[in-house]
């Protein structure tokens, strides 16, 4: 079998695996096949740029990111084999270029010559890594694996799901799907202008692997004695690596097309060939690289100067359960959208600039789309970098061994009293109490009495069980008009009842429940003793349940906000990030965002178990720090 046939088979398998992993990343599939959660983010874990960049920002290599060595080490020996054998985005570009090719041989040869533009990717890499040195992780914007996971999760699969909803259920909805999708489309379309534009000119992972290819033991080698300078080796050259003269090692994708295309067998894949036939370093200038690094540093400066992740943080930035403290989160999140994909309720949404420019595409919870499922911890299990920690249900809910630590709080619910039906409109409701999933419920009710419209009347006559009322006299009138109630209006029902408060001389008030009424007479439930005198003020009140929040028990899951019947874009009950446990750690920067809304001591376990620098000493008892 020819080596290129083997390569095509491997490419097919790799892209198939990628697609399978993304499709498997749903709550249902991971519930049916729990062991799948170890593989669905594997392409992200083997991506050495993810490993290196997060190692720079966090000074650690998180769990599965050690898999990056599986790509990194072979690259040192063989060059950029990843780009044309494994990378699903590279494979996709290759496929698109092949399917839509309309160039003749001459045009193909010309389109595959090296251009100075292709050095751009090295500057992008340098800029990203420079920002990473300061703790600002942006590689995910253009890293091909991250880009493709995100594009499929947000831009492609929800659309593919639309005609198949009866089979696969509702499609996920994401506000900026069109932006993510358009970027994907842009890079795919650029293959018409420059073949493999993304891989050759933009890809920071390709740039990293290109740098690592410098000492490769094997490479494509041209025998100048056999070569007739026909340039046919360029016609299918994927990397634009100039196999027809000195090979640019940093550009070659090791696709083997040139060997196959050479009619004179002048090319071979050789072990340690002559150094005169190769250009080992990428085509970059030192001053330009320094400039790129400065741009990266400047970007970091701008994001921090924006203050959106610190002082001016948005209380809408509610992170998934198990997330580490915000600065650490931004240092870890690569924006791959795996958490967004796996989320069973669609509550996770890619952010725009809610957490500053650096927080673009990071996950935040939007409680109009869903609520954080009470006993679900799926997002942390697919997160490749530990921005969302792998937590258990016990840890999330503060059960069992975590009882002393308490639950993980994503934020705290608040009422907008002006919109709440029972608080401001005398309509009984309390759906929020019904759905509150913690026990005891964080949303609880008290009965409140509120004056009904035009409820203040005067007693005209009274017996021990009935009050006949008149309106307050209008100016110039001696006696007010008789009341005109709807018969039975104040009978109440199971959810609300009516009471009449009778004001006596000296300001004393007695309250009697109303049993029934006709047009101007109230029948009270019970006996009025003493019987109210004529002209006493009688005020008719409605009594209903109004909801309140016990911040001690609220975990910020957002189910109340999701289910609130006041369905506008500002619900009558809504959750904000205040009180989130991940900001209750010990560092000053976390404390900047924290607001203690509970009386008991508690600290986010996820933060505690994820110290930024391992070996920084024994953790003190959280409670001792919270007093």
């Amino acid at each position: 079998m020819r080596i290129t046939t083997v390569r095509i088979l491997v490419q097919t398998v790799m892209f198939g695996l990628f697609l399978a992993f993304v499709l498997l990343t749903t709550f249902t599939h991971l519930n049916d096949w729990p062991s799948a959660k170890w593989v669905v983010s594997k392409f992200l874990e083997v991506d050495p740029l993810v490993g290196i960049a997060t190692a720079i920002t966090t000074h650690t290599v998180y769990r599965g990111l050690l898999w990056g060595l599986v790509i990194l080490i072979p690259t040192l020996f063989l060059g950029r084999i990843f780009c044309n054998w494994i990378c699903p985005f590279g494979i996709f570009h290759h496929f698109i270029g092949w399917v839509f090719n309309r160039r003749n041989t001459k045009e193909k040869i010309d389109s595959n010559r090296y251009r100075p533009l292709f050095a751009l990717k090295y500057y992008i890499l340098v800029g990203f890594l420079a920002a990473a040195v300061f703790g600002c992780l942006q590689i995910g914007l253009l890293d091909p694996i991250v880009f493709l996971y995100r594009a499929f999760t947000i831009g492609v699969l929800p659309v593919a799901n639309m005609p198949t909803q009866s089979l696969f259920g509702d499609y996920h909805m994401h506000a900026n799907a069109w932006v993510v999708g358009s970027l994907f489309l842009f890079f795919v379309s650029m293959n018409w202008v420059i073949p493999r534009f993304f891989c050759r000119a933009v890809c920071p992972l390709g740039a990293l692997l290109g740098v690592l290819s410098r000492y490769a033991f094997w490479r494509i080698d041209r025998d100048p004695d056999k070569c007739v300078n026909c340039d046919l080796c360029l016609q299918s050259c994927e990397g634009a690596s100039d196999p027809h003269k000195q090979l640019r090692m940093a550009e070659c994708f090791v696709c083997f097309n040139c060997i196959e295309d050479c009619p004179h067998e002048a090319l071979r894949f050789a072990f340690l060939p002559s150094r005169r036939q190769e250009i080992r370093s990428p085509d970059i200038g030192r001053r330009h690289a320094v400039f790129a690094a400065l741009v990266g540093a400047l970007f970091f400066g701008w994001t921090k100067a924006g203050g959106k992740s610190t002082q001016d943080f948005s209380s809408k930035v509610i992170r998934p359960p198990g997330s580490v403290e915000e600065q650490e989160f931004l240092a870890r999140c690569i924006k791959c959208a795996q958490c967004i994909r796996v989320c069973p309720t669609n509550v996770l949404q890619p952010a725009l600039f809610e957490s500053g420019a650096e927080g673009l595409w990071t996950p935040i919870l939007n409680f109009r789309m869903g609520a954080c499922q009470h006993q679900c911890t799926a997002c942390g299990h697919v997160c490749p970098t530990g921005a969302i920690q792998r937590i258990t249900v016990e840890e999330k809910l503060g059960l069992g061994a975590f009882e002393a630590v308490g639950p993980i709080r994503l934020g705290t619910a608040h009422f907008d009293l002006g919109r709440c039906l029972p608080w401001s409109k005398n309509i009984s409701c309390v759906v929020c109490e019904e759905v509150c999933p913690v026990s005891p419920k964080a949303i609880h009710c008290e009965y409140r009495q509120m004056l009904v419209r035009d409820g203040k009347k005067l007693v005209r006559a009274a017996t021990a069980t009935a009050l006949t009322l008149v309106d307050s006299p209008a100016p110039g009138q001696a006696v007010g008009a008789p009341c005109t109630f709807r018969p039975g209006e104040f009978k109440g029902d199971a959810s609300l009842s009516y009471h009449v408060q009778v004001y006596r001389a000296g300001g004393l008030v007695r309250t009697y429940p109303i049993a029934d009424n006709d047009a101007d007479t109230l029948v009270v439930d019970g006996v009025m003793d003493p019987v109210p005198p004529a002209a006493a003020v009688a005020a008719i009140h409605v009594q209903l349940k109004v909801p309140k929040i016990d911040t001690e028990h609220c975990i910020g899951c957002g189910l109340c906000e999701l289910e609130c019947p006041v369905v506008g874009d500002r619900r009558a009950v809504y959750v904000t990030a205040e009180g989130e446990t991940r900001s209750m750690s010990y560092s000053e920067r976390a404390r900047n965002r924290s607001l203690r809304l509970t009386r008991t001591a508690d600290a986010g376990r996820a933060v505690e178990e994820n110290p930024r620098r391992p070996g920084s000493g024994e953790m003190p008892d959280p409670r001792s720090l919270l007093s």
Binding site: Q375, V431, P437
Partner: protein, 370 residues
């Protein structure tokens, strides 16, 4: 231009003009009201009407056991159902080839011991009974408040259903269709519910996918405390078939629950009283909210079933349960005349003690273990 070319072009032009005109006339909307069109709603049959149920047979059958292991629970279910069936099995209710929809309460993501969702052992036993009676397919469906896949997984109902070969339907938006709960007006316009008459539902989207196929419907509610309507039982269980922003009805919750009794007349109701959530409902979440009820109740009268359970399992006074009052009034309104099954097409009384006095309640005690 040759004659042939003239004819060819002329013909093509005529065909194109004719097609455009025909297409435009076919799609023509002379009144301009097409934008106001509503999908024509579905109707539900009375799922009890096809059961040949003797008027003298028991209306409520209660089985008690002493333990909550799967075997005892299954025995309880079999005993309770057997009491109505006049012998073991479900043959009086389910015929060979029937497609049966089971509607358990899977409203929240809770493990079974929290009694927020129907005991999966009860669901399993009912599936087995349906299969034994010859049902060709058994569907299990609910539209939970929380994420459906999680609720079905955590409650153990998905596992129980799949092991018994029943199909679980996870709701998706496309599965919902408007259902006319009340007859449309004589002129064909949808009936508008009148709040003054405690009506909440006229036409409303329901989880239609399972109802589309099923010709028998068995409700398998759990009995539990509820913060708004005091108790979630058999009638309230049908809330789980509603779609849309159904929680807006919570302002008139007794109206809608009594409407749900009108919406769907089940073939049979089997109340899971194995565990009872006594407080903090409907979500619960603490074992201290739950007591062992050790009871399964089967009934052909959903109202009497609810009333019995409310009094005997939740230990509360059913006289205070307003939706039962309303439901009984509505059952009467719908079917004027004495509420015998023969005339009304359903049994519906909140006075379960009437049945006791008439000897229409059977009780069985099941021995635990094996």
């Amino acid at each position: 231009m040759s004659r042939r070319e003239f004819l060819r072009r002329g013909g093509a032009t005529l065909v194109a003009a004719g097609a455009a005109t025909g297409g435009a006339l076919w799609l023509y909307d002379p009144t301009g009201k097409a934008g106001l069109r509503q999908p024509s709603p579905q109707r539900l049959p009375n799922y009890f009407a096809t059961v040949d149920y003797p008027v003298s047979a028991p209306r409520i059958s209660i089985a008690r056991g002493g333990a909550l292991d799967p075997q005892t629970v299954e025995k309880m279910v079999r005993a309770a159902v057997g009491g109505l069936n006049g012998g073991p099995g479900l043959s009086r209710f389910i015929r060979k080839g029937d497609v049966v929809l089971l509607k358990p309460n899977v409203g929240f993501e809770r493990a079974p011991q929290f009694a927020a969702t129907t005991n999966p052992d009860v669901v399993r036993a009912v599936i087995r009974l349906c299969r034994e009676a010859g049902a060709s397919r058994v569907l299990v469906a609910d539209n939970p408040i929380e994420a459906a896949p999680n609720c079905f997984a955590r409650s153990g109902i998905q596992d129980a259903a799949q092991r018994e070969g029943a199909r679980v339907l996870i709701p998706a938006n496309v599965h919902f269709t408007p259902l006319a709960i009340r007859e449309p007006n004589p002129d064909g316009t949808p009936y508008r519910p009148d709040p003054a008459r405690h009506e909440a539902l006229g036409t409303w989207p329901v989880f239609w996918e399972p109802l589309r196929e099923a010709n028998k419907v068995i409700g398998i509610p759990i009995i539990k405390d509820h913060n708004l309507c005091y108790a979630s039982m058999g009638l309230k269980n049908w809330y789980g078939l509603l779609g849309g922003r159904r929680n807006q009805f919570h302002q008139a919750i007794h109206d809608i629950i009594s409407d749900l009794g009108l919406m769907l007349s089940p073939t049979l109701t089997i109340v899971d009283g194995t565990r009872v959530m006594m407080r903090n409902g409907p979500t619960g979440g603490s074992l201290s909210d739950v007591k062992d009820g050790n009871t399964v109740v089967a009934g052909v009268d959903p109202l009497a079933c609810d009333a019995w359970c409310y009094e005997n399992l939740l230990e509360r006074d059913p006289a205070a349960l307003r939706y039962l009052d309303l439901a009984q009034a509505k059952f009467g309104e719908q079917e004027a005349g004495p509420r015998s099954y023969a005339e009304a097409g359903r049994f519906g009384t909140r006075h379960w003690t009437d049945y006791r006095n008439r000897g229409l309640i059977v009780e069985t005690v099941v021995r635990s273990g094996e």
